[in-house]
Subunit: 592 residues, 2 copies
């Protein structure tokens, strides 16, 4: 059976040594001292380890069952959810006016990583509710907020996001679900939505569906989409549950992973819906919270990587097989633990250096979101908007790869169910697909985000790297191991950007053919920057006499590994990008 | 439901235009004209498409069931196996003296690819039997061969390979299964073997287990291992089945994939076994056929990649979503098929260029095996021994990656069971693990094969590349698209080899830390060479007036894609290798 240990120590290092959150000017951050965040992380870690993680295998094996329109979640999910609600975790970063804890998003992110690592399928019920609450908080009327938010924040009601239909996922302009205006001001919603996570289940009293649909007579395509609240049970004026609405689960998807989450076909048969925000502005309303939603998927990627790594490491320390080529390390045992072998270490270091780098990137991203929201800082908002497709696409691709590497560490055991690694692989796989496939992320990056504010935002990113390099050039320990490779990688990224500017203008396919490589190139530069920052913090801590020398020395060594073994990938990505559209577009569709 | 089309046209191109098999001096190859191989491939293709492929989903969903010691295979497997036996496919390349068809291994390989693509779990029953037959043919006594081979070749009996035990997989020196000599010359075999593919099932009358065990009093470690025949039913002198032997299936593994194959825990409780070959020389006997066994796993990797690609391509042509950025391609439809989008093409071209390159490499490898065996050619034997770890490690890693890419082409549909892509991912995953994990392949390559014949074999490989480059330097169409990138990649490979020679001598960990990257670097050079050869053949065919211009033009364009988009990876691999052991070995095991 797999195990999970909450990485609270590494999180504290990021929050306080690297990001120095409590010295930040963001409202609410002054409270985030080491003791406070430590207490929150410890509690969340306990919940993850003791309540959620033991249900991860159960959820995978039992899955969800649909009987007579009712979805039964796996054994224990309902009780675990109650514990989570009682602890106030469902409203951690929500507005206190509606019963939330009002904590910064960075804490929502840190705790969410642990919940997701421990049980991704379970945490998705919260994730979807969080998305729905955020959209309502931003775009709902005062009455809608008062009606729905308190119950959702308390966890009595959960939420969903309904976008996809059989004929459209990426291309939402093709939506057919229609919303017909009724005399009482509500709408009758009719249509079918598919792949609706947490669409129907037995964990909460009510489910608040947010549904994209078209009001007849509106503009064609995405400009005619509106957003609706469609509660499973209508809500009476006094807040009590009223009639069952005409929305039902028509089937459960049979999936490769995340079996514990109910992925539903949802049928709307003239269901009563309530318009959220302006008519025909539904897509914008649904996507306001896209940065958070995509960050939380990026997080799923490396969180599955983390638990997979932890179990690979445990195996590598225990499993005796072969001898260290430089001499037996455990001469009294029949063989040495496989962690002595260089290729096993290479594999483990790939995992470790990715997971810790990814965590730093996502935590930094969460502070940018806090800065954007709490300080109404447009530059921070633009920066996180630029970085989001990189985080979502790169971290979920690499997070999945990390689970595959971890599975490989176990050899044959990795392929068998009882060790649990194969579940991490199957669960992690979805993160590359949903919330916009990673191909779509790369188009968003190259097609929209590079040109954000006329290119000023991406220039601000480069300036930030340049400034970091300049400010630290006298730091001899950072120089060769971190700054030089970061500089080289950043140069590759700029060269790719220049190519898109020049050759992409001539033929947009030159840019689009390289978009995926650019996303990965950008991701490597981001992780390089994060590792340089972490190394700087650890060097400083050691110089300041921090006694946890093993922790900091390990951090520096892990970073050196990333810089020397992973960052060279930027050269290959650049070469691919510079080969342009010709090799990609050469074939007629008929000749593939 | 997924579909499968046998790639017979591409196979014919390889056999006749690229490898020109019938002009080869290998005994038996003179028969391999276009008509003959076409007839064999067509028949095998039909069997794969019509009989095996329809059972692939069934096998995955039903799996194997153990009841009262009896393993029931999925519905239809038994009947399909009978069709295969009746067609003579189980003994295609086996000795006619024992009822085989005596065909070259290249045809066994080509037909095996189709069977494996169509239903990997099913084809494994044949694969294990083939391995056992080969070991018996090479090391069995005349009496053993006469007793077992005819029934195995006819398919009435199947075979297994029993190596792994709970405490040892890679490190077979730790084997505990013991073989005690009996008065009648047989041995009593006692011990437990795990992960025994096709260990017990209902498809054949008898199962011939080949078992590694230690005779008490023999040398320690791998030098004390002997090989035994342990039939499920003992065989009477007249060839009829006798008493049930004391070997039984103690359980089935629950696995990520290949559910249709019974992966068994096998318990030997004083079972009667018969020594094969010399005492204490069992490991060598078991591994004589390692090249074929590993080639057949390499084949599984790209075969799963192929069927995954075929289904991704079908989806990309059908699915309407979004518009071509350069203008609508299907203006009468609500959207364009997604194959118009550059990033979808990038994904498909990655798949296609890998699968076709891999097929060429494995087919070439099969001719080397024929040359080694049929001509007793020591140089061919050395060359294939050098290339085998590259083929097994690189092609199964990339084959798995290809199934993941194909799954991604389908977006959310790729994650759901009914589209079948997720099964290809789960099935392909095992090929990276069994028959020696890919990490072990990389150690074999760097630790043993590089030094084969004092390094002469790897030099012969470089000479072959150099000769090809020189012989074709006046071919303008080959030059820039193929020869130049191949030259650069080959230079990277040589530089890595030089580094191992110099720095690996100082510290073996410098070589071992880079072994995995070296295996991939070598793999890319091999595929680059294959693509250059295929392009040369297609250019020649077009010049000679071959009217299938679409086929050849597509071949050349696909090769150009591989050379410009995949081959640049060699630079990254070289950089990783040159960073040496330090970053990999820096951490104490306790500090990971």
């Amino acid at each position: 059976m797999p195990t999970y240990t909450a990485p609270t120590k590494d999180m504290q290092f990021l929050l306080h040594d690297v990001l120095q959150v409590s010295q930040n000017d963001i409202p609410g951050y002054d409270e985030l001292d080491r003791d406070f965040t430590g207490a929150v992380l410890d509690e969340a870690g306990k919940l993850a380890m003791e309540v959620l993680h033991p249900l991860n295998t159960v959820g995978d094996q039992q899955g969800c069952v649909l009987e007579n329109g009712v979805v039964r979640t796996p054994e224990g999910f309902k009780d675990a959810y109650k514990i989570m609600c009682d602890g106030g975790w469902t409203g951690l970063d929500m507005d206190p006016e509606y019963g939330g804890q009002g904590m910064p998003y960075i804490l929502q992110t840190a705790t969410g990583e642990m919940f997701s690592a421990a049980n991704m399928a379970f945490q998705m019920y919260n994730g979807l509710t969080h998305g729905a609450m955020s959209a309502l908080a931003e775009h709902g009327s005062d009455q809608q907020k008062a009606t729905y938010l308190p119950k959702m924040i308390a966890g009595n009601w959960t939420g969903t996001m309904n976008l996809t239909e059989p004929q459209c996922g990426t291309d939402l302009g093709l939506i057919r679900t229609k919303a017909e205006p009724q005399e009482d001001g509500s709408y009758a919603i009719t249509g079918q939505k598919i792949w609706i996570s947490a669409g129907e289940h037995d964990m909460s009293e009510n489910i608040i569906h947010l549904v994209l649909a078209k009001i007849p007579g509106g503009p064609e395509g995405v400009k005619g989409i509106s957003l609706f609240i469609v509660p499973k049970f209508l809500v009476n004026d006094d807040g009590s549950l009223g009639a069952r609405n005409a929305v039902s689960c028509g089937g459960l998807e049979h999936k490769m992973g995340i079996h514990g989450n109910a992925t539903c076909v949802m049928n709307y048969d003239g269901a009563t819906g309530f318009l959220v925000g302006e008519m025909h502005k539904g897509l914008r309303a649904m996507f306001t919270m896209m940065n958070e939603a995509r960050l939380s998927v990026a997080l799923q990627g490396y969180a599955q990587g983390d638990i997979a790594y932890q179990n690979a490491l445990g195996f590598a320390r225990d499993r005796l097989q072969g001898r260290d080529i430089t001499g037996a390390q455990a001469p009294n045992k029949p063989a040495d633990p496989i962690i002595v072998h260089p290729d096993v270490r290479r594999n483990l270091m790939d995992q470790k250096s990715f997971v810790e780098g990814a965590r730093a990137l996502v935590f930094w991203g969460a502070t940018l979101i806090d800065q954007a929201h709490r300080c109404k800082d447009a530059e921070a908002d633009a920066m996180i908007s630029l970085l989001i497709p990189v985080m979502k696409g790169f971290l979920t691709d690499k997070g999945f790869e990390t689970t595959v590497l971890a599975q490989q560490t176990l050899g044959g055991s990795g392929f068998t169910r009882e060790w649990g690694l194969e579940q991490f692989v199957r669960d992690a796989r979805i993160a590359m697909i949903y919330e916009g496939t990673n191909g779509i992320q790369s188009l968003d990056l190259v097609g929209r985000k590079l040109g954000l504010n006329g290119g000023k935002t991406v220039m601000a990113f480069f300036d930030m790297v340049k400034t970091f390099l300049k400010e630290n050039e006298d730091n001899a320990e950072l120089k060769s191991g971190f700054l030089d490779p970061l500089k080289a990688a950043s140069k590759d990224l700029q060269a790719a950007g220049m190519y898109f500017m020049s050759d992409g203008m001539k033929n947009p396919n030159n840019a689009l053919s390289g978009s995926y490589d650019f996303m990965h190139l950008f991701g490597h530069v981001c992780l390089g920057l994060m590792w340089a920052r972490m190394a700087k913090a650890s060097i400083a801590a050691l110089e300041a006499g921090d006694t946890d020398t093993d922790f900091h020395a390990t951090k520096i060594a892990t970073g050196r590994y990333y810089m020397s073994r992973q960052l060279p990938m930027t050269g290959t990505h650049l070469a691919r990008i510079m080969s342009g559209a010709e090799p990609v577009m050469a074939l007629d569709a008929a000749n593939f």
